[in-house]
Amino acid sequence: MKRIISILIENKPGALARVVGLFHQRGYNIETLNVGPVFDGSYSRMSVTTRGSENDVEQITKQINKIIDVIKVSDLTEGDHHEYEFIMIKFRQSEKIQKILKGLNGKIHEKNKDVMVMSAWGPSGDIEIAIKAIGKANLFEIARSGSIGLHEGEKVLKI
């Protein structure tokens, strides 16, 4: 099952590598990864998507928690949550692609004779479907933010 693990981590050199390295050390895969400083910038929020059973994820979160620079860890998928992914796509003018992206909050950033750049965002499941539907024809490149998410309701992951 797909999991989104949110991590608050000290914004220190090498901290990110500790988390990424741990997945490999313990035999788990990272599907997507997003990181950026939040609040006063002294710490960052990471969102990692991975696949595994409940036991796997329990072990991963415990191991991540042991990293000294990690302040808090939460498996968003344990409860109700919001989850989105942002993508940017460069393609040769294509009605089909434009139409698909429009359905996902699509926005045009550049448009000329040969090239078009658009962004879109939505639940990562929808993004996956869109990427499959777009296929290879007319597609130049694609960049994904990876899933990010927050708990629903009053539950917060904060220092």
């Binding site: 090498g14 072990q59 415990k62 990690v70």
Partner: protein, 578 residues
């Protein structure tokens, strides 16, 4: 007064109470070495290889409970320290390893003796620091010692670029009153609700087993463990790392468990209805096949590291907390409880264990046998050593058959007396570790039990022992082969001894010890054994290397049947399964 980076470092180490630094100089560490020269609080021990430095610091830590400190230079100095770091990491030993690094502006340029120590050591340290500002050195040292010694202990690396210890740049020394890290707050006290649940389960068990590991020793909780079992009267087994946590002479002690554990300990685990795991981590050398592990047992698991709980074997009642605090809470709860222990069931259970012990238990009186075989049995060497030292010595070991024979036949009644690389299984550990122990306890007997394979992995430290006058005793159990490898080849590979023998090319260990300025002795007959040991131990101020030739065909038994075996499936002797 303002201090240079090197002086700040030494001052901070002094304030942490560091007595010894095990190290080896080199370019990137030279400013630090100049600062070492100018102070007296910490004695520097010059090893002959950086692996020796980390193992010596590790041995010092295991024997004293204090953190060990090693200092190495950049590049090869740092990479040579890696095996020692991994050894300490696997056994949760608090070390602070300081590595010199090339100057900041050269980092990333493939400069001379540059290696990414932080990157290389990342998976085998509890934490690591790189010094970016000289004035941070005192804080980093404080944090490093705090992290290394609290929670589940472990090694910490501090990488210091050479320019951060520049003698011409001076800074104020500041020491914080206390260390508090928002991202690191290990749990100390157990959850009271979990203690209540555990108490109920424990008191109503009919076939309980206490399975205690290295965490009891690291957490200084052996007295609490003894106190707990004064009430429970349950059979106790220790892991390889836990030997000494519960006194071997106690009637409830079953010996070690696991791969080469005693018959009664493994049978008790398999047949238990409750396993009380204390500071132990159910590793693969204990459980055998996890799905076949202790089928009837409920598990109470006490550990300071939540990630150790339910990692391999699911815990029914997890208790996260320091072992000492958890045991104290448990004892208090048990004393308060109205549930009566079913002593009839417990008597029957202890009786069953006695029967197992009588059936296939280890023979601790082999050395008394009137029939002397033509070759010395390695077990007899350990038994004679036990009697020669009255069981009071600090014993370090390397890895392999000799290590298992000590674990089986030397009865450890006190914690921190048995010093060996359990998790990583590092050959070469024993001699440098013994140096660290001897420096900490110069008046105590320190013995390194090793094999002719292992000893050659850090033999150069004999030179260090001469320089610092460390009169340890080395018992080389010499079977002219990599014994444990050979045993597996005998049992699983049709006796094809691939790359496990070298009898024609072994050094003359007596001459080798002598050339390092020590005493060498050789034993080939059992009749010489006791006399030689007595003679060696009488030489209080000399390092004595005793080369004991033993039967190369001897195997370590019991041995768990694997793969696809449970803890009750054991080889009891050659070609005989229990």
């Amino acid at each position: 007064m303002k201090l240079s980076g090197g002086d700040l470092l030494m001052r901070a180490l002094k304030d942490e109470g560091v007595k010894f630094i095990f190290g080896y100089p080199g370019g990137a560490a030279l400013h630090i070495y100049d600062s070492i020269f100018k102070q007296k609080a910490c004695e520097h021990i010059l090893v002959r290889h950086e692996q020796g430095a980390t193992h010596a610091a590790d041995g010092y830590s295991r024997a004293t409970g204090k953190p060990g400190v090693a200092l190495v230079t950049s590049g090869p100095g740092a990479t040579n320290a890696i095996t020692g770091l991994a050894t300490a990491y696997m056994d949760s030993i608090p070390l602070v390893v300081i590595s010199g690094q090339v100057q900041s502006h050269l980092i990333g340029t493939d400069s001379f003796q540059e290696t990414d120590m932080i990157g290389i050591s990342r998976p085998i340290v509890k934490h690591s620091f790189i010094v970016q500002n000289t004035q941070d050195i005192p804080r980093i040292i404080q944090e490093a010692f705090h992290i290394a010694t609290t929670g589940r202990p472990g090694p910490v690396v501090i990488d210091i670029p050479k320019d951060k210890t520049d003698p011409s740049k001076l800074y104020e020394y500041k020491r914080a009153k206390e260390i508090s890290l928002r991202s690191y707050q290990p749990r100390v006290l157990p959850h009271p609700g979990q203690i209540k649940k555990a108490c109920k389960k424990i008191l109503s068990a009919e076939r309980p087993v206490i399975y205690a590991g290295g965490g009891v020793i690291l957490g200084n909780a052996h007295k609490e463990l003894i106190a707990l079992n004064k009430i429970l009267k349950a059979p106790v087994t220790n892991t390889l790392m836990g030997l000494g946590a519960y006194p071997a002479k106690d009637k409830y002690f079953m010996g070690m468990l696991g791969m080469h554990g005693t018959y009664q300990a493994n049978m008790a685990m398999h047949n238990a209805d409750l396993i009380i795991a204390i500071g132990a981590r159910f590793d693969d050398r204990i459980t055998n096949t996890p799905s076949m592990f202790a089928p009837d047992a409920k598990i109470v698991h006490i550990d300071v590291d939540p990630a150790s709980i339910s990692k391999i074997i699911n815990a029914d009642i997890p208790i996260v907390g320091q072992v000492k605090e958890s045991l104290l809470a448990l004892i208090k709860e048990i004393k308060r409880s109205k549930i009566k222990i079913d002593s009839e069931a417990l008597d029957n259970w202890n009786m069953q264990i006695s029967q197992w012990r009588a059936k296939h238990g280890l023979d601790h009186d082999l050395y008394l046998s009137k029939i002397k075989p033509s070759m010395i049995a390695p077990q007899v060497v350990v038994q004679e050593l036990y009697h020669a030292t009255q069981g009071n010595a600090f014993i370090t070991s390397d890895v392999g058959q000799h290590q298992m024979f000590v674990a089986q036949y030397y009865h450890f009644n006190k914690p921190r007396r048995w010093i060996n690389s359990g998790g990583l299984g590092t050959m070469g550990f024993g001699l440098p570790a013994a140096m660290g122990v001897k420096l900490a306890f110069p008046k105590q007997e320190v013995v390194c039990v090793t094999g002719e394979g292992s000893i050659q992995m850090c033999i150069q430290e004999l030179s260090t022992c001469l320089q610092y006058n460390l009169p340890i005793k080395i018992i080389n159990i010499n079977n002219e082969a990599l014994g444990m490898v050979r045993q597996w080849q005998d049992m699983n590979y049709g006796g094809r001894h691939s790359a496990s023998t070298y009898s024609d090319s072994l050094p003359d260990f007596v001459k080798l010890a002598q050339s390092y300025g020590h005493v060498g002795m050789k034993v080939t007959k059992q009749s010489q054994l006791k006399k030689t040991l007595d003679k060696a131990f009488a030489m209080k101020d000399r390092l004595v290397f005793i080369d004991v030739y033993v039967d190369p065909n001897e195997h370590v038994y019991p041995m768990l049947v694997s793969p696809n075996g449970s803890m009750k499936d054991m080889w009891i002797k050659k070609n005989t399964k229990a």
